[in-house]
Subunit: 220 residues, 2 copies
Amino acid sequence: MRTRDVLALAEDAQQAGASGVLLAPVSYQKLSDEEVFGLYDVVTRELSVPLCVYDNPGTTRFEFSDELHGRIAQLPSVRSIKIPGVPAGTDEARARVDRLRSMIPAHVSIGVSGDGMAAMGLNAGCEAWYSVIAGVFPDTALAITRAAQAGDAQQAMHLSERLQPLWDLFRQTGGSLRAVATAAELKGLVDSPCLPLPLKTLEDSDRQRLAALIDELQLS
Amino acid sequence: MRTRDVLALAEDAQQAGASGVLLAPVSYQKLSDEEVFGLYDVVTRELSVPLCVYDNPGTTRFEFSDELHGRIAQLPSVRSIKIPGVPAGTDEARARVDRLRSMIPAHVSIGVSGDGMAAMGLNAGCEAWYSVIAGVFPDTALAITRAAQAGDAQQAMHLSERLQPLWDLFRQTGGSLRAVATAAELKGLVDSPCLPLPLKTLEDSDRQRLAALIDELQLS
C-alpha cells in the first residue's frame, strides 16, 4: 500500500464521518523503521481525527520497537497504540506494558489485541481492548472488560479462561476473523457467506463446533 | 486483496496488452490452502493469457505445498511457477526442483527467484530465472543464464559467486528492490527518487557502496 493510497483512504474515511482511523504499516515490501516513521509522519500531518497505530507483525511482517513507538506517539493525531498481545504471565505482561508506557506520552492509550489475551492485557494496564468478539458478542466482551476495570483481575482471568475452547477454535481456523464472521452468519446478523472471496467462513465440523460453543459458553 | 480486485486487475492488464500475468496470493488475512486454490481457480477461468503462480512466502505468509502446486498447475492458463529460491547445495537444490517437477504437468515451467540463488536454481533444472537485476543489468544476468543453459554449471556458479558483495548488499538493505531501484537511479534510467512512498531508495553509505560495486563488479 502506497502512502498516497493511505492518504486517499484516510480522507475518504473522514469524509464518511469516521471519528478515528486505525493504521497498520501494510506493504508488499517489508518496511524499514525509517519508512514506517515516514508513513505515520506524512499521514498524521493530513489527519483531523485521532489515529491508532496498529502494531500487527503477524500481518505486516514489521516489528515495532518500543523506541519507534515512542517517536511515532509524539506525532500529532496519534492517540492510541494497538499492540499485538501481551506475554503470558502476569509479571511478564505488566513489564511489557510498563516499558511501552514509559516511552509514550500520557495522552496515548495502549490497547491489547488478540481476544484470548485481552484479560491478561487489561489486567497488565492496557486501557483498551481492540476486540474481535465484541462486534458479535458484546456482553461477553464487556463482562471481561468491566471485571478488569474494576480491579478484579482474578474474575477477568476466570471469564477469559472459560472461553478457552473459543480461543482454541480461533487458532485452529486461522485466526479469529473466519470464526467471528461465521458467528455473525449463524446469528443471522449478516447474509451468508459474508466474507469476500478468497476468504471463506467456516464449513462442516468447524461450523458445527462453533455453533455448539455459542450455546455451551452462552456467548452473547 | 479480494478476488474481485484480482479479477479487475487481470482484466486491466489484458486490456493494456499484457502477454501474461503473475499472481501471488496476497491477503491481509493469511489464507488457507482451499482459499488459495479457490483464488487461482476463479482467476484462471477468466484469463486469456498465461499465468505464473508466484510462490513468495516471505511476502504472503502463505506456504505452498508441492501437492497444492500440483492441483493449481492443472488449471487452465497456468504456465509457470515462480519458486522462492532453492536450498543451498547442488543435491538439495536438484531434489527440490525434481520433486516439484514430478507433481506438475510438463507444460508448466519452474522459474527460480532470489537473484543470489539463480545459478543454483538454473543448474538444478529450473527453466527460468525471474530476475530482479536483469531489468538494470541484463548482460550480467544473461551471462549466468547462458552458462547454466549451456550445461556449464561451474561457470554459472562462478559468475554468481563473484557477485556475492551484491547479494550481501541486497540482504543488508531489506531485499533486492531498494538496491536495484537505486541502481536504476544511479544509471539515470529513472527519475530520482523512483520508489513510491513509504518505500525509499538507498541513501548515504549504502548508496555509495552500491555505486562502487557497480564499477568493481562491472555490472552491465
